[in-house]
């Protein structure tokens, strides 16, 4: 494959459109206006009739929890819309309200099209039933008719690569098989609007790859997806727009990069002192915009998979959004599960004409060739852009660059291979 890998187009199949340029402005399919959700938390829960009967006149004491306050937003058809926020910010409540699981306390939500919520993979799976029965049942739960669900059974099993286990009861499935089946049902349910809560990180690397492909496919097919996630990388990669929730209120709606930035800032501002200290005086800020980033093959063409042991040749172009003093550029390679493998940092190669500074709007090209110790698998590259602030601390921005696959004859144990020698010798028997 020779298609470029970059933020703007890493769909892996030709003909994909750049993300930002194609932000859909089709008809509104989700319209939320002034959505309120208040939970009444009983101070003293009366679970039994006896308590009710013995204290008939005590008013139940409630504490009100405003999970959502005056939340309004629109989602257009064909849009990938991200909802991000810290724990307890109300994002899951909003998702459940959109999915008709919670009743609203105020405001309205209107929706156009068939909706399928995926709050958790495999909800409603019955371990005592066969995969066949479960797939049909789950398909109907996702809004298919019975006939339609039965018709799509083969497609589901094919996608999950579980054809030969169709008559096996789910209790005999491995957890990995279960996840694959659940995801396959979700994909094949083919709803107009999909509500997805953090289900991206599932399965092994090759399945994760498949999931990512499905997301690009759904996006190309013009499906509307509302994605709730902690993973700013995913939000930046997939979403056209995103919304940041904080304490049940809308903090910002718009550009996913800006949302990610504000999210990091929120996290940082409210992190405890210890956490701040451990970051060594780092703040998050929007320093730069990713223009392009790719991995190169031996001949200089863009690739998205390389062979085991073949050097990593990369190029990144970023555009400064503001003046960057004493900038530092970093590359981080992470596994598909987000575990960091290694990181490199590089300051600007300064010259007389350019002091150690990048002006707003200027572009910086970072490129290099690295030794590749990675074992076969899927990896991500993040790019960081940091600048020194006048206050003496560092403003950091992390950009999701690309994902790539290292392929090799056989999967190894661990993440990287190291050179070296190990000897195993039989010890001479000790003298009696």
């Amino acid at each position: 494959m020779s298609s470029p890998i970059s933020l703007d187009d890493n769909s892996g199949a030709g003909g994909a459109l750049p993300v930002r340029a194609s932000t859909p402005d089709g008809p509104v399919v989700i319209e939320a206006r002034g959505v309120e959700k208040t939970f009444r938390i009983p101070e003293h829960r009366m679970d039994s009739l006896k308590e009710r009967a013995t204290h008939p006149f005590t008013r139940m004491q409630y504490r009100e929890l405003h999970a959502l306050r005056n939340v309004s937003f629109d989602v257009h058809r064909g849009e990938f819309f991200g909802i991000v926020g810290r724990n307890g910010s109300g994002k899951s409540t909003l998702l459940k309200s959109l999915a008709s699981i919670y009743a609203l306390s105020g405001g309205t939500i209107r929706m156009g099209g068939r909706l399928a919520p995926f709050i958790e993979l495999g909800v409603g799976f019955n371990p005592e039933l066969t995969a066949r029965d479960n797939v049909v049942l789950n398909g109907v739960m996702m809004g298919l008719s019975r006939r339609e669900a039965e018709r799509r059974l083969d497609a589901v099993l094919d996608f999950a690569e579980l054809e030969e286990f169709v008559e096996l009861k789910l209790k005999n499935y491995s957890s990995g098989m279960m996840v694959r089946l659940a995801f396959a049902v979700m994909v094949q349910a083919d709803a107009d609007i999909m509500l997805i809560d953090e289900v991206l990180a599932v399965g092994d690397a090759s399945f994760a790859q498949k999931c990512v492909e499905v997301f690009y496919e759904k996006r190309r097919a013009g499906r509307t997806v509302v994605l709730v996630s902690h993973d700013m990388g995913a939000v930046q990669t997939f979403c056209h727009r995103a919304m940041l929730l904080h304490d049940g209120q809308v903090e910002y709606i718009g550009d996913p990069e800006e949302v990610a930035m504000r999210y990091f800032r929120l996290n940082f501002a409210e992190g405890d002192a210890e956490e701040q200290a451990s970051r060594g005086g780092v703040v998050f800020d929007a320093n730069a915009r990713l223009v392009d980033g790719w991995l190169e093959g031996e001949t200089g063409d863009r690739v998205e998979s390389i062979e085991e042991g073949e050097p990593l040749r990369f190029s990144v172009v970023v555009e400064a959004r503001r003046e960057l003093d004493d900038p530092m550029f970093g590359l981080h390679v992470l596994t598909a599960n987000g575990v960091g493998v290694f990181a490199l940092r590089q300051t600007l190669t300064a010259s007389d004409r350019h002091p150690n500074r990048v002006l707003a709007g200027q572009r910086v090209r970072i490129s290099g060739t690295l030794e590749n110790p990675l074992l076969p698998g899927r990896y991500f590259v993040n790019c960081s852009v940091a600048r020194t602030r006048r206050q003496g601390d560092v403003a950091l921005q992390v950009l999701r660059l690309a994902d790539f696959v290292v392929h090799g004859p056989e999967p190894g144990l661990g993440i990287v291979s190291v050179r070296g020698r190990v000897d195993a010798l039989v010890e001479p028997a000790p003298e009696p």
Partner: protein, 280 residues
């Protein structure tokens, strides 16, 4: 791609039948069928178990009431009447007792998908109804084998069955929707169901009950139903609910309670359905 712009529907939140009739019916059917399959195809003797339970109870009760209390001798066709009643009441009891925990038992589905709440208790009743249908086939074989000749009134039996199903659904709706908030519902209903078993003319005919107690038994809406079934299916010579009650007027009470139960069921379920996900 913009022609459907105005086609927005209000999202009303969770309801008894959220997602439409069609989807609810599909779900109801699938859940009941898979549940039924799971219960009876997973065990070695399969369906026989479902029959073994009432037959065993029948055997014990028959021995007790014909050999020990000698009650049966006054009642024509007592053995088949007893079996018939046990199977009918078994349906009501099995469905309602299972229903109590049904919604809570499906917690994942209720809290994490858009699921029509009413389908859950209805599926429980439907599964029990499958059982009942199979059991009734066997019971009718017994009835014929015992020498009861088919009468045209057998054709009326579906009316009784329908009334029994409706009250079973109503009670299932009440207990399943209240259980998430009042966990003692499970114990209360187990006890009440046992009381009802003895308070319904299952083991005895209504006319055998002394006058004073009969008024109390007649508050039970199941009582006239069982008398009707007996009159139409087993023993055309039986007095039937009107004669046994001593006129039509005493029957107004159970009828009113029957209707009130159904109305209450709909009201309470509609009220509870939207908030069940939050109560769990």
């Amino acid at each position: 791609m913009s022609e459907a712009a105005a086609d927005l529907r209000d999202v009303r939140g969770p309801t008894a039948l959220g997602g439409g009739w069609r989807r609810s019916l599909d779900l109801l059917y699938l859940i009941a069928v898979t549940d039924f399959k799971r219960t009876y195809f997973g065990t070695a003797l399969g369906y026989l178990w479902s029959l073994a339970r009432p037959l065993m109870l029948f055997g014990v009760l028959l021995a007790v009431f014909t050999q020990v209390f000698r009650l049966g001798s006054d009642v024509p066709n007592y053995p088949v009447l007893l079996l018939f009643n046990i199977v009918l009441f078994g349906f009501f009891q099995e469905a309602t007792v299972t229903a109590v925990n049904s919604i809570v038992g499906q917690e994942g589905v209720v809290r994490k998908t858009q699921f029509p709440r009413l389908v859950i208790p209805l599926a429980v009743v439907l599964t029990s109804l499958f059982n009942l249908t199979l059991n009734l086939l066997v019971v009718f074989l017994f009835i014929l084998g015992f020498g009861v000749s088919p009468a045209w009134t057998w054709l009326l039996f579906p009316i009784v069955l329908a009334l029994l199903i409706v009250i079973t659904v109503a009670v299932s709706m009440i207990v399943s929707s209240l259980f998430p908030r009042f966990r003692d519902m499970a114990i209360i209903w187990t006890v009440l169901a046992t009381v009802l078993f003895y308070g319904t003319p299952v083991l005895y005919p209504l006319e055998a009950v002394p006058e004073t107690l009969r008024d109390i038994v007649l508050l039970n809406p199941l009582a006239p139903l069982f008398e009707l079934a007996r009159n139409w299916v087993i023993d055309p010579g039986a007095p039937g609910p009107i004669d046994a009650a001593g006129g039509f007027a005493p029957l107004l009470a159970p009828m009113a309670i029957y209707v009130a139960t159904c109305v209450f069921a709909v009201w309470v379920f509609r009220r509870e359905a939207p908030r069940i996900a939050e109560e769990l």
